[in-house]
Symmetry: C2
DNA sequence: AAATAAGTTCATTAATTTCTGAACTTAATG
DNA sequence: CATTAAGTTCAGAAATTAATGAACTTATTT
């Protein structure tokens, strides 16, 4: 097993730990460790020795997550993939989304709570305030980064 | 199905979506929507109609994630569970951890890249810089919150 | 110290997710 | 317009993960 093969498996396992298909992580691992920007479907298939179905499904998963992007060249029917540069945005977007989703869950829980003066209710209210704070602050980090880098 | 039962299932599905056991989400749902701070093992079992093994395993999962905490009363052999107030800290800790883990993965990928002048290498270097930035900034959000709330 | 209660462990079963491979679609090329 | 290439779809197989339930541990009570 080469260094690169080991690395690809490592990214696969990382992805799996977060409840996502190992193959998606492997594809990401390929693209990160690749010296080129132009990895085709076939390329990935050769490196990963996986079925077309699995490569296809997981490429589309990563495209939907905006972790990778597709680019094409006219006169060439293949599509090529690379790590998405806008993954910077998407990292934070995904984080904000998960914060928002949990904020909504907390709110719903509080709303159906029959005893709005209980200690439990108050504790959860505090947590909810924190989530509201995060929901505002996380996107601001992106803005801070942009300012700093121009 | 009561409002509360529906809610509990919803939190279960939310948890499942993030690759965690549905039962862990259900337990969280119970604790969020409960009017008391004192939900015992037995309590959860009654509400969720699940096996002892599943309740036990998932309580311990949530305890390890610091999402819930255990408290006891002397003269009572039961343990009681509630949403952890320090989950505020843990939310950010978990986020920082996932950022750090991915930063390490990106670094490794760059290190094994044979062409350190390629476009791909440079793009990923930029993403890496952003991760380094986030790794510093995310814990600072917690500090900002603390300042604001005292 | 026997009985009981609270919770854990773990082998088996059940449910879910992912992968494969073959048939299919779409579009470009000769 | 037939052929080929690129990729998608989807039913079934394989692999993984979660839940069950019974036996077990630990600690408390009578």
């Amino acid at each position: 097993m080469t260094e690169k093969e080991k690395y690809i498996e490592e990214v696969g396992i990382f992805y799996e730990k977060y409840g996502l298909p190992k193959m998606a992580g492997r594809i990401l691992g390929c693209l990160i460790s690749s010296e080129t920007d132009n990895n085709s479907f076939e390329n990935l298939r050769d490196i990963l020795k996986a079925s077309k179905g699995s490569i296809s499904g997981n490429i589309n998963l990563l495209l939907n997550q905006n972790m990778i992007e597709k680019h094409t060249i006219s006169g060439d029917r293949k599509s090529y993939y690379r790590i998405a540069m806008n993954s910077l945005e998407n990292i934070m977007e995904a984080k904000t989304k998960s914060v928002t989703e949990f904020r909504i869950i907390l709110e719903k829980g509080l709303n159906i709570n029959p005893n709005q003066n209980s200690l439990n209710f108050n504790n959860i209210s505090d947590i909810l305030d924190y989530y509201n704070f995060l929901e505002i602050e996380i996107p601001l980090l992106r803005v801070k980064w942009e300012k700093r880098n121009k």
